[in-house]
Protein backbone atom coordinates (compact mmCIF):
# COMPACT_ATOMS: atom_id res chain seq x y z
CA UNK A 1 0.00 0.00 0.00
CA UNK A 2 1.22 3.49 -0.76
CA UNK A 3 1.13 5.58 2.36
CA UNK A 4 1.17 9.38 2.12
CA UNK A 5 4.68 10.56 2.92
CA UNK A 6 5.25 13.40 5.39
CA UNK A 7 8.51 15.28 5.89
CA UNK A 8 9.09 16.46 9.47
CA UNK A 9 11.58 19.34 9.74
CA UNK A 10 12.42 19.99 13.40
CA UNK A 11 15.74 20.45 15.17
CA UNK A 12 14.42 18.85 18.34
CA UNK A 13 15.34 15.20 18.17
CA UNK A 14 12.65 14.24 20.68
CA UNK A 15 9.92 15.97 18.69
CA UNK A 16 11.00 14.14 15.52
CA UNK A 17 10.96 10.91 17.47
CA UNK A 18 7.41 11.57 18.74
CA UNK A 19 6.11 12.48 15.31
CA UNK A 20 7.87 9.58 13.62
CA UNK A 21 6.16 7.05 15.86
CA UNK A 22 2.72 8.65 16.10
CA UNK A 23 2.40 9.57 12.44
CA UNK A 24 3.62 6.17 11.29
CA UNK A 25 1.04 4.46 13.45
CA UNK A 26 -1.61 6.80 12.02
CA UNK A 27 -0.85 5.69 8.50
CA UNK A 28 1.88 7.99 7.21
CA UNK A 29 5.36 7.40 5.95
CA UNK A 30 7.71 9.75 7.77
CA UNK A 31 10.92 11.38 6.53
CA UNK A 32 12.91 13.61 8.87
CA UNK A 33 15.24 16.58 8.62
CA UNK A 34 16.97 18.33 11.52
CA UNK A 35 17.78 21.65 9.83
CA UNK A 36 16.18 24.01 7.33
CA UNK A 37 18.80 23.28 4.70
CA UNK A 38 18.39 19.53 5.14
CA UNK A 39 14.63 20.02 4.84
CA UNK A 40 14.94 21.97 1.60
CA UNK A 41 17.25 19.30 0.20
CA UNK A 42 14.90 16.51 1.25
CA UNK A 43 11.94 18.15 -0.49
CA UNK A 44 13.95 18.58 -3.68
CA UNK A 45 15.30 15.05 -3.69
CA UNK A 46 12.16 13.16 -2.66
CA UNK A 47 9.10 15.42 -2.52
CA UNK A 48 6.69 14.33 0.22
CA UNK A 49 2.93 14.87 0.12
CA UNK A 50 3.06 17.18 3.14
CA UNK A 51 5.68 19.10 5.09
CA UNK A 52 5.56 19.67 8.86
CA UNK A 53 7.93 22.51 9.51
CA UNK A 54 9.16 23.83 12.86
CA UNK A 55 9.56 27.61 12.82
CA UNK A 56 12.49 27.75 15.25
CA UNK A 57 15.21 26.05 13.25
CA UNK A 58 18.87 26.64 14.07
CA UNK A 59 20.09 27.50 10.56
CA UNK A 60 17.45 28.95 8.23
CA UNK A 61 14.27 29.95 10.03
CA UNK A 62 10.97 28.31 9.13
CA UNK A 63 9.57 31.44 7.47
CA UNK A 64 12.53 31.55 5.11
CA UNK A 65 12.20 27.82 4.41
CA UNK A 66 8.52 28.38 3.54
CA UNK A 67 9.41 31.25 1.24
CA UNK A 68 12.06 29.22 -0.57
CA UNK A 69 9.75 26.23 -0.96
CA UNK A 70 6.97 28.41 -2.32
CA UNK A 71 9.29 29.58 -5.10
CA UNK A 72 8.80 26.24 -6.79
CA UNK A 73 6.32 24.00 -5.02
CA UNK A 74 2.72 24.12 -3.78
CA UNK A 75 3.19 21.14 -1.42
CA UNK A 76 1.09 21.66 1.69
CA UNK A 77 3.10 23.04 4.61
CA UNK A 78 1.96 22.96 8.25
CA UNK A 79 4.16 25.03 10.53
CA UNK A 80 4.81 24.19 14.18
CA UNK A 81 5.17 27.31 16.23
CA UNK A 82 6.06 27.92 19.85
CA UNK A 83 3.50 29.73 21.96
CA UNK A 84 4.02 33.48 21.89
CA UNK A 85 5.55 33.28 18.46
CA UNK A 86 2.53 34.83 16.75
CA UNK A 87 4.51 37.14 14.57
CA UNK A 88 6.59 34.36 13.01
CA UNK A 89 3.47 32.27 12.59
CA UNK A 90 1.70 35.01 10.65
CA UNK A 91 4.78 35.64 8.51
CA UNK A 92 4.97 31.93 7.70
CA UNK A 93 1.30 31.85 6.70
CA UNK A 94 1.72 34.99 4.62
CA UNK A 95 4.75 33.37 2.98
CA UNK A 96 2.45 30.55 1.88
CA UNK A 97 2.29 28.00 4.67
CA UNK A 98 -1.09 26.24 4.68
CA UNK A 99 -1.71 26.01 8.39
CA UNK A 100 -0.12 26.10 11.79
CA UNK A 101 -0.22 24.17 15.02
CA UNK A 102 1.01 25.71 18.25
CA UNK A 103 3.30 23.68 20.49
CA UNK A 104 2.39 21.92 22.67
CA UNK A 105 -0.18 20.33 20.36
CA UNK A 106 -2.05 17.06 20.58
CA UNK A 107 -1.61 14.44 17.91
CA UNK A 108 -5.31 14.30 16.90
CA UNK A 109 -5.23 18.09 16.42
CA UNK A 110 -2.22 17.81 14.13
CA UNK A 111 -3.76 14.89 12.26
CA UNK A 112 -6.95 16.90 11.62
CA UNK A 113 -4.95 19.77 10.16
CA UNK A 114 -2.93 17.35 8.08
CA UNK A 115 -6.07 15.80 6.60
CA UNK A 116 -7.42 19.22 5.57
CA UNK A 117 -4.09 20.24 4.09
CA UNK A 118 -3.71 16.97 2.19
CA UNK A 119 -7.23 17.21 0.78
CA UNK A 120 -6.45 20.69 -0.48
CA UNK A 121 -3.10 19.50 -1.81
CA UNK A 122 -4.78 16.69 -3.74
CA UNK A 123 -7.32 19.10 -5.21
CA UNK A 124 -4.71 21.64 -6.21
CA UNK A 125 -4.59 25.27 -5.23
CA UNK A 126 -7.89 27.14 -5.36
CA UNK A 127 -9.39 25.04 -8.13
CA UNK A 128 -11.63 23.40 -5.58
CA UNK A 129 -15.30 22.66 -5.56
CA UNK A 130 -17.68 25.02 -7.25
CA UNK A 131 -20.02 24.78 -4.31
CA UNK A 132 -18.80 24.82 -0.71
CA UNK A 133 -21.26 23.57 1.92
CA UNK A 134 -20.84 24.07 5.64
CA UNK A 135 -23.80 23.04 7.77
CA UNK A 136 -26.81 24.85 6.29
CA UNK A 137 -24.76 27.43 4.38
CA UNK A 138 -24.01 26.94 0.70
CA UNK A 139 -21.50 29.07 -1.17
CA UNK A 140 -21.82 28.69 -4.94
CA UNK A 141 -18.59 30.12 -6.29
CA UNK A 142 -19.58 29.82 -9.93
CA UNK A 143 -22.96 31.54 -9.60
CA UNK A 144 -21.69 33.91 -6.88
CA UNK A 145 -24.67 33.03 -4.70
CA UNK A 146 -24.69 32.33 -0.97
CA UNK A 147 -27.71 30.62 0.60
CA UNK A 148 -28.55 29.73 4.14
CA UNK A 149 -31.14 27.01 4.78
CA UNK A 150 -32.05 27.32 1.10
CA UNK A 151 -32.68 31.07 1.21
CA UNK A 152 -30.43 33.47 -0.62
CA UNK A 153 -28.34 35.72 1.67
CA UNK A 154 -27.68 39.23 0.39
CA UNK A 155 -24.03 40.19 0.74
CA UNK A 156 -22.19 43.36 -0.17
CA UNK A 157 -19.38 42.91 -2.73
CA UNK A 158 -16.77 43.15 0.05
CA UNK A 159 -18.59 40.58 2.16
CA UNK A 160 -18.90 38.24 -0.81
CA UNK A 161 -15.21 38.71 -1.55
CA UNK A 162 -14.35 37.66 2.00
CA UNK A 163 -16.67 34.65 1.93
CA UNK A 164 -15.28 33.55 -1.41
CA UNK A 165 -11.68 33.74 -0.19
CA UNK A 166 -12.56 31.89 3.03
CA UNK A 167 -14.47 29.24 1.05
CA UNK A 168 -11.63 28.73 -1.38
CA UNK A 169 -9.46 28.09 1.66
CA UNK A 170 -12.08 26.20 3.66
CA UNK A 171 -10.64 24.47 6.69
CA UNK A 172 -7.44 26.39 6.47
CA UNK A 173 -6.38 29.45 8.43
CA UNK A 174 -6.09 32.67 6.42
CA UNK A 175 -4.27 35.66 7.86
CA UNK A 176 -5.74 39.13 8.24
CA UNK A 177 -3.28 40.32 5.61
CA UNK A 178 -4.27 37.65 3.08
CA UNK A 179 -7.98 38.38 3.54
CA UNK A 180 -7.54 42.12 3.22
CA UNK A 181 -5.32 41.75 0.16
CA UNK A 182 -7.81 39.45 -1.52
CA UNK A 183 -10.71 41.83 -0.99
CA UNK A 184 -9.29 45.34 -0.90
CA UNK A 185 -6.05 44.80 -2.80
CA UNK A 186 -2.51 45.64 -1.77
CA UNK A 187 -1.87 48.41 0.71
CA UNK A 188 -4.78 47.68 3.04
CA UNK A 189 -3.07 44.90 4.97
CA UNK A 190 -3.18 46.88 8.20
CA UNK A 191 -6.89 47.64 8.12
CA UNK A 192 -7.65 44.90 10.64
CA UNK A 193 -10.21 47.11 12.33
CA UNK A 194 -12.33 47.31 9.19
CA UNK A 195 -11.88 43.59 8.63
CA UNK A 196 -13.38 42.95 12.06
CA UNK A 197 -16.42 45.00 11.10
CA UNK A 198 -16.91 43.11 7.80
CA UNK A 199 -16.52 39.75 9.53
CA UNK A 200 -19.02 40.75 12.23
CA UNK A 201 -21.63 41.66 9.65
CA UNK A 202 -20.95 38.45 7.72
CA UNK A 203 -21.43 36.44 10.86
CA UNK A 204 -24.73 38.18 11.48
CA UNK A 205 -25.91 37.01 8.07
CA UNK A 206 -24.50 33.48 8.13
CA UNK A 207 -24.16 32.27 11.71
CA UNK A 208 -26.96 30.83 13.83
CA UNK A 209 -25.49 32.66 16.84
CA UNK A 210 -23.15 35.48 15.71
CA UNK A 211 -21.76 35.85 19.25
CA UNK A 212 -20.63 32.21 19.20
CA UNK A 213 -19.43 31.80 15.64
CA UNK A 214 -19.12 28.22 14.37
CA UNK A 215 -18.59 28.80 10.67
CA UNK A 216 -16.14 31.69 10.58
CA UNK A 217 -13.82 30.95 13.46
CA UNK A 218 -11.41 33.52 14.84
CA UNK A 219 -7.76 32.46 14.99
CA UNK A 220 -6.52 34.82 17.69
CA UNK A 221 -3.72 37.08 16.54
CA UNK A 222 -3.59 35.43 13.14
CA UNK A 223 -6.81 35.63 11.14
CA UNK A 224 -9.88 33.50 10.44
CA UNK A 225 -10.76 30.01 9.37
CA UNK A 226 -13.89 28.85 7.60
CA UNK A 227 -14.96 25.59 9.13
CA UNK A 228 -14.46 22.67 6.77
CA UNK A 229 -17.38 20.31 6.53
Amino acid sequence: MNLPRVLVVDDEQQMRRSLRVTLRTNGYDVDEAATGEAGLDAVAVRPPELIILDLGLPDVDGVEVTRRLREWTRLPIIVLSAMGDDEAKVRALDAGADDYVTKPFSVPELLARMRVALRRGARGEQTGDRVVRIEDVEIDLARRVVTRAGLEVHLTPTEYGLVRFLAQNAGRVVTHGQLLRSVLGNGYEDAIGSLRVYIASLRKKLEADPSEPRLIVTEPGVGYRLKAD
Binding site: Q14, V21, K103, F105
Partner: protein, 340 residues
Protein backbone atom coordinates in the same frame (compact mmCIF):
# COMPACT_ATOMS: atom_id res chain seq x y z
CA UNK B 1 36.87 61.46 59.88
CA UNK B 2 36.36 61.75 56.18
CA UNK B 3 34.67 65.09 56.71
CA UNK B 4 37.54 66.39 58.73
CA UNK B 5 39.94 65.44 55.94
CA UNK B 6 37.93 67.27 53.27
CA UNK B 7 37.77 70.45 55.38
CA UNK B 8 41.51 70.24 56.04
CA UNK B 9 42.14 69.77 52.33
CA UNK B 10 39.99 72.83 51.54
CA UNK B 11 41.97 74.94 54.04
CA UNK B 12 45.25 73.63 52.67
CA UNK B 13 44.18 74.58 49.13
CA UNK B 14 43.39 78.10 50.36
CA UNK B 15 46.76 78.32 52.15
CA UNK B 16 48.57 77.35 48.94
CA UNK B 17 46.62 79.98 47.02
CA UNK B 18 47.53 82.63 49.62
CA UNK B 19 51.17 81.61 49.19
CA UNK B 20 50.93 81.87 45.40
CA UNK B 21 49.29 85.33 45.55
CA UNK B 22 51.90 86.53 48.05
CA UNK B 23 54.62 85.26 45.75
CA UNK B 24 53.10 86.99 42.68
CA UNK B 25 52.55 90.29 44.56
CA UNK B 26 56.25 90.42 45.36
CA UNK B 27 56.77 90.97 41.62
CA UNK B 28 53.82 93.16 40.60
CA UNK B 29 50.60 94.70 41.92
CA UNK B 30 47.74 92.38 40.81
CA UNK B 31 44.25 93.82 41.37
CA UNK B 32 42.63 90.67 39.91
CA UNK B 33 44.65 88.32 42.12
CA UNK B 34 41.51 87.79 44.20
CA UNK B 35 40.11 85.71 41.33
CA UNK B 36 42.75 83.07 42.08
CA UNK B 37 40.73 82.12 45.17
CA UNK B 38 38.16 80.66 42.79
CA UNK B 39 40.57 77.77 42.24
CA UNK B 40 40.43 76.32 45.80
CA UNK B 41 36.74 77.26 46.14
CA UNK B 42 35.59 75.52 42.96
CA UNK B 43 37.87 72.61 43.69
CA UNK B 44 36.32 72.22 47.13
CA UNK B 45 32.78 72.68 45.79
CA UNK B 46 33.09 70.06 43.07
CA UNK B 47 35.17 67.50 44.94
CA UNK B 48 34.17 67.77 48.57
CA UNK B 49 30.75 69.40 48.68
CA UNK B 50 29.16 72.53 50.06
CA UNK B 51 30.63 72.62 53.59
CA UNK B 52 34.29 72.61 52.58
CA UNK B 53 33.46 75.07 49.76
CA UNK B 54 31.99 77.58 52.18
CA UNK B 55 34.94 77.07 54.55
CA UNK B 56 37.30 77.68 51.60
CA UNK B 57 35.39 80.84 50.61
CA UNK B 58 35.37 82.24 54.17
CA UNK B 59 39.01 81.28 54.72
CA UNK B 60 39.94 82.93 51.40
CA UNK B 61 38.14 86.14 52.40
CA UNK B 62 39.66 86.24 55.88
CA UNK B 63 43.16 85.36 54.71
CA UNK B 64 43.08 87.87 51.85
CA UNK B 65 41.87 90.60 54.18
CA UNK B 66 44.45 89.70 56.81
CA UNK B 67 47.49 89.33 54.54
CA UNK B 68 46.93 91.66 51.62
CA UNK B 69 44.32 94.37 52.34
CA UNK B 70 45.67 97.41 54.08
CA UNK B 71 45.87 97.77 57.00
CA UNK B 72 47.76 94.46 56.61
CA UNK B 73 47.70 92.23 59.66
CA UNK B 74 44.15 93.19 60.71
CA UNK B 75 40.67 91.95 59.71
CA UNK B 76 39.20 95.39 59.01
CA UNK B 77 37.78 96.17 55.58
CA UNK B 78 37.94 99.73 54.39
CA UNK B 79 37.06 99.76 50.68
CA UNK B 80 33.52 98.70 49.54
CA UNK B 81 35.24 97.19 46.45
CA UNK B 82 36.97 94.64 48.68
CA UNK B 83 33.72 93.84 50.48
CA UNK B 84 31.96 93.15 47.19
CA UNK B 85 34.84 90.92 46.04
CA UNK B 86 34.67 88.83 49.18
CA UNK B 87 30.87 88.49 48.97
CA UNK B 88 31.24 87.28 45.41
CA UNK B 89 33.70 84.61 46.52
CA UNK B 90 31.16 83.31 48.99
CA UNK B 91 28.38 83.39 46.40
CA UNK B 92 30.51 81.47 43.87
CA UNK B 93 31.29 78.84 46.49
CA UNK B 94 27.61 78.25 47.24
CA UNK B 95 26.41 78.15 43.64
CA UNK B 96 29.22 75.90 42.42
CA UNK B 97 28.69 73.50 45.30
CA UNK B 98 24.98 73.42 44.53
CA UNK B 99 25.55 72.66 40.84
CA UNK B 100 28.16 70.01 41.57
CA UNK B 101 25.83 68.37 44.05
CA UNK B 102 22.99 68.27 41.53
CA UNK B 103 25.28 66.75 38.91
CA UNK B 104 26.44 64.11 41.37
CA UNK B 105 22.86 63.21 42.23
CA UNK B 106 21.90 62.95 38.57
CA UNK B 107 24.85 60.64 37.91
CA UNK B 108 23.86 58.49 40.85
CA UNK B 109 20.26 58.25 39.69
CA UNK B 110 21.47 57.30 36.23
CA UNK B 111 23.65 54.59 37.69
CA UNK B 112 20.76 53.21 39.72
CA UNK B 113 18.50 53.27 36.68
CA UNK B 114 21.16 51.38 34.70
CA UNK B 115 21.36 48.73 37.41
CA UNK B 116 17.57 48.41 37.42
CA UNK B 117 17.53 48.10 33.62
CA UNK B 118 20.19 45.41 33.69
CA UNK B 119 18.24 43.47 36.26
CA UNK B 120 15.10 43.79 34.12
CA UNK B 121 17.01 42.53 31.09
CA UNK B 122 18.16 39.55 33.10
CA UNK B 123 14.63 38.80 34.22
CA UNK B 124 13.35 39.01 30.67
CA UNK B 125 16.13 36.73 29.47
CA UNK B 126 15.37 34.30 32.27
CA UNK B 127 11.70 34.28 31.46
CA UNK B 128 12.31 33.70 27.78
CA UNK B 129 14.88 30.97 28.39
CA UNK B 130 12.73 29.24 30.95
CA UNK B 131 9.57 29.33 28.89
CA UNK B 132 11.38 27.96 25.86
CA UNK B 133 13.20 25.27 27.78
CA UNK B 134 10.21 24.17 29.77
CA UNK B 135 7.98 24.12 26.74
CA UNK B 136 10.24 22.11 24.47
CA UNK B 137 10.10 18.91 26.52
CA UNK B 138 6.45 19.60 27.38
CA UNK B 139 5.63 19.71 23.66
CA UNK B 140 7.00 16.20 23.09
CA UNK B 141 5.36 14.88 26.23
CA UNK B 142 2.02 16.30 25.12
CA UNK B 143 2.41 14.89 21.60
CA UNK B 144 3.33 11.44 22.92
CA UNK B 145 0.62 11.27 25.53
CA UNK B 146 -2.10 12.52 23.18
CA UNK B 147 -0.92 9.99 20.63
CA UNK B 148 -1.07 7.14 23.12
CA UNK B 149 -4.54 8.22 24.19
CA UNK B 150 -5.98 8.04 20.67
CA UNK B 151 -8.92 5.73 21.10
CA UNK B 152 -9.13 4.51 17.53
CA UNK B 153 -5.46 3.78 16.86
CA UNK B 154 -3.51 0.77 18.03
CA UNK B 155 0.18 1.35 18.63
CA UNK B 156 2.49 -1.62 18.39
CA UNK B 157 4.19 -2.67 21.63
CA UNK B 158 7.46 -1.38 20.29
CA UNK B 159 6.05 2.03 19.36
CA UNK B 160 4.24 2.31 22.66
CA UNK B 161 7.51 1.56 24.47
CA UNK B 162 9.31 4.17 22.43
CA UNK B 163 6.73 6.88 23.13
CA UNK B 164 6.84 6.07 26.83
CA UNK B 165 10.64 6.12 26.85
CA UNK B 166 10.56 9.54 25.19
CA UNK B 167 8.16 10.82 27.83
CA UNK B 168 10.50 9.48 30.49
CA UNK B 169 13.52 11.20 28.89
CA UNK B 170 11.71 14.48 28.59
CA UNK B 171 10.58 14.33 32.21
CA UNK B 172 14.24 13.86 33.17
CA UNK B 173 15.16 16.84 31.04
CA UNK B 174 12.56 18.98 32.79
CA UNK B 175 13.89 17.78 36.10
CA UNK B 176 17.45 18.81 35.17
CA UNK B 177 16.21 22.22 34.10
CA UNK B 178 14.33 22.76 37.33
CA UNK B 179 17.42 21.67 39.30
CA UNK B 180 19.45 24.24 37.39
CA UNK B 181 16.94 26.97 38.04
CA UNK B 182 16.90 26.18 41.74
CA UNK B 183 20.69 26.20 41.89
CA UNK B 184 20.81 29.46 39.97
CA UNK B 185 18.51 31.17 42.42
CA UNK B 186 20.36 29.72 45.39
CA UNK B 187 23.73 30.74 43.98
CA UNK B 188 22.32 34.21 43.39
CA UNK B 189 21.10 34.37 46.98
CA UNK B 190 24.43 33.01 48.22
CA UNK B 191 22.80 30.23 50.20
CA UNK B 192 24.32 27.32 48.32
CA UNK B 193 26.87 25.94 50.75
CA UNK B 194 28.50 22.63 49.77
CA UNK B 195 28.11 19.80 52.27
CA UNK B 196 31.47 18.22 51.72
CA UNK B 197 32.20 14.56 52.22
CA UNK B 198 34.91 12.37 50.74
CA UNK B 199 33.64 11.18 47.36
CA UNK B 200 34.86 8.89 44.62
CA UNK B 201 34.76 11.11 41.53
CA UNK B 202 35.19 8.19 39.15
CA UNK B 203 32.02 6.63 40.48
CA UNK B 204 30.21 9.96 40.29
CA UNK B 205 31.20 10.54 36.66
CA UNK B 206 30.15 7.01 35.68
CA UNK B 207 26.78 7.51 37.38
CA UNK B 208 26.22 10.74 35.45
CA UNK B 209 27.06 9.02 32.17
CA UNK B 210 24.59 6.24 32.90
CA UNK B 211 21.89 8.74 33.72
CA UNK B 212 22.55 10.78 30.59
CA UNK B 213 22.63 7.76 28.30
CA UNK B 214 19.46 8.81 26.44
CA UNK B 215 20.92 12.26 25.82
CA UNK B 216 24.21 10.83 24.61
CA UNK B 217 22.24 8.79 22.05
CA UNK B 218 24.97 6.40 21.01
CA UNK B 219 27.86 8.86 21.21
CA UNK B 220 31.16 7.40 22.20
CA UNK B 221 32.41 8.68 25.57
CA UNK B 222 36.09 7.98 26.15
CA UNK B 223 36.54 8.08 29.90
CA UNK B 224 40.11 7.92 31.23
CA UNK B 225 40.63 7.66 34.97
CA UNK B 226 44.05 8.06 36.56
CA UNK B 227 45.15 5.21 38.80
CA UNK B 228 44.93 5.67 42.56
CA UNK B 229 42.75 8.75 42.26
CA UNK B 230 42.27 10.08 45.80
CA UNK B 231 38.84 10.71 47.29
CA UNK B 232 37.77 14.31 46.90
CA UNK B 233 35.97 16.22 49.63
CA UNK B 234 32.94 17.67 47.90
CA UNK B 235 29.15 17.90 47.80
CA UNK B 236 28.04 14.92 45.74
CA UNK B 237 24.83 16.46 44.39
CA UNK B 238 26.53 19.70 43.42
CA UNK B 239 29.49 18.11 41.67
CA UNK B 240 27.07 15.76 39.95
CA UNK B 241 25.26 18.87 38.70
CA UNK B 242 28.54 20.35 37.41
CA UNK B 243 29.44 17.16 35.55
CA UNK B 244 25.90 16.83 34.17
CA UNK B 245 25.97 20.38 32.86
CA UNK B 246 29.38 19.91 31.25
CA UNK B 247 28.34 16.70 29.50
CA UNK B 248 25.03 18.20 28.46
CA UNK B 249 26.84 21.24 27.10
CA UNK B 250 29.21 19.04 25.12
CA UNK B 251 26.37 17.07 23.52
CA UNK B 252 24.36 20.13 22.76
CA UNK B 253 27.00 22.10 20.91
CA UNK B 254 28.62 19.39 18.85
CA UNK B 255 27.37 17.38 15.87
CA UNK B 256 25.45 14.21 16.67
CA UNK B 257 27.69 11.19 16.89
CA UNK B 258 30.97 12.99 17.60
CA UNK B 259 32.86 11.47 20.53
CA UNK B 260 33.35 13.13 23.93
CA UNK B 261 36.50 12.61 25.97
CA UNK B 262 36.61 12.79 29.74
CA UNK B 263 39.79 12.62 31.79
CA UNK B 264 39.96 12.36 35.54
CA UNK B 265 43.37 13.11 37.07
CA UNK B 266 44.87 14.46 40.30
CA UNK B 267 48.10 15.90 41.63
CA UNK B 268 49.04 16.66 45.22
CA UNK B 269 46.72 19.66 45.49
CA UNK B 270 43.77 19.28 43.14
CA UNK B 271 41.61 16.77 41.33
CA UNK B 272 40.95 17.62 37.71
CA UNK B 273 38.13 16.62 35.39
CA UNK B 274 38.50 17.50 31.72
CA UNK B 275 35.55 17.30 29.34
CA UNK B 276 36.68 17.51 25.74
CA UNK B 277 34.37 17.72 22.77
CA UNK B 278 35.07 17.64 19.06
CA UNK B 279 32.88 20.48 17.96
CA UNK B 280 33.84 23.70 16.23
CA UNK B 281 35.60 25.18 19.26
CA UNK B 282 34.87 28.56 20.82
CA UNK B 283 36.50 31.85 19.79
CA UNK B 284 38.66 33.37 22.54
CA UNK B 285 36.47 36.47 22.93
CA UNK B 286 33.38 34.31 23.44
CA UNK B 287 34.87 32.22 26.21
CA UNK B 288 34.21 34.28 29.30
CA UNK B 289 30.71 35.13 28.09
CA UNK B 290 29.87 31.44 28.23
CA UNK B 291 29.86 31.55 31.99
CA UNK B 292 27.49 34.47 32.27
CA UNK B 293 23.89 33.48 32.82
CA UNK B 294 21.68 33.38 29.72
CA UNK B 295 24.55 33.67 27.26
CA UNK B 296 24.46 30.97 24.63
CA UNK B 297 27.42 31.90 22.47
CA UNK B 298 26.82 32.30 18.77
CA UNK B 299 24.58 29.29 18.44
CA UNK B 300 20.83 29.07 18.35
CA UNK B 301 21.01 25.75 20.05
CA UNK B 302 18.28 25.25 22.64
CA UNK B 303 19.31 25.71 26.24
CA UNK B 304 18.73 28.23 28.95
CA UNK B 305 22.31 29.43 28.98
CA UNK B 306 22.31 28.63 32.68
CA UNK B 307 24.23 25.37 32.73
CA UNK B 308 27.77 26.69 32.49
CA UNK B 309 27.22 29.65 34.76
CA UNK B 310 25.83 27.32 37.40
CA UNK B 311 28.65 24.84 36.91
CA UNK B 312 31.21 27.58 37.49
CA UNK B 313 29.29 28.97 40.48
CA UNK B 314 29.21 25.52 42.08
CA UNK B 315 32.89 24.92 41.33
CA UNK B 316 33.78 28.22 42.99
CA UNK B 317 31.57 27.44 45.97
CA UNK B 318 33.87 24.41 46.40
CA UNK B 319 36.97 26.58 46.23
CA UNK B 320 37.62 25.11 42.79
CA UNK B 321 37.63 26.46 39.26
CA UNK B 322 36.01 25.86 35.90
CA UNK B 323 37.97 27.00 32.86
CA UNK B 324 37.61 26.62 29.11
CA UNK B 325 40.25 26.50 26.39
CA UNK B 326 40.99 24.93 23.01
CA UNK B 327 41.73 21.28 22.81
CA UNK B 328 45.08 20.89 20.97
CA UNK B 329 43.56 18.32 18.60
CA UNK B 330 40.38 20.32 17.91
CA UNK B 331 37.19 21.06 19.83
CA UNK B 332 36.76 22.62 23.23
CA UNK B 333 38.15 21.57 26.59
CA UNK B 334 36.41 22.38 29.86
CA UNK B 335 38.54 21.81 32.92
CA UNK B 336 37.07 21.49 36.39
CA UNK B 337 39.54 21.57 39.30
CA UNK B 338 38.54 20.79 42.87
CA UNK B 339 40.92 21.21 45.81
CA UNK B 340 41.93 18.04 47.65
Amino acid sequence: MRHFVTYALALAAVAITVGVIGFLRSYAELPTAVLLYLVPIILAATRWGRGPAVVAAVASAVAHDFFFIPPVGTLTITSPDEAVGLALLLFTALVTAQLAEAARHAAEREREAAVARRSDDLKTALLRAVTHDLRTPLASIKANVSGLRQADVAYSDEDRAELLAAIDDEADRLDRLVANLLDASRLEAGVLVPHKQPQDLAELVRAVLVRLRPLLAGREVQLTIAEDLPLVSCDYAQVEQIVTNLVENATRHTPEGTPIEMRLTADTEVARLEVIDHGAGIPVIERERLFRPFERGQTRVPGSGLGLSIARGLAEAHGGRLEVDDNPTGGTRFCLTLPL
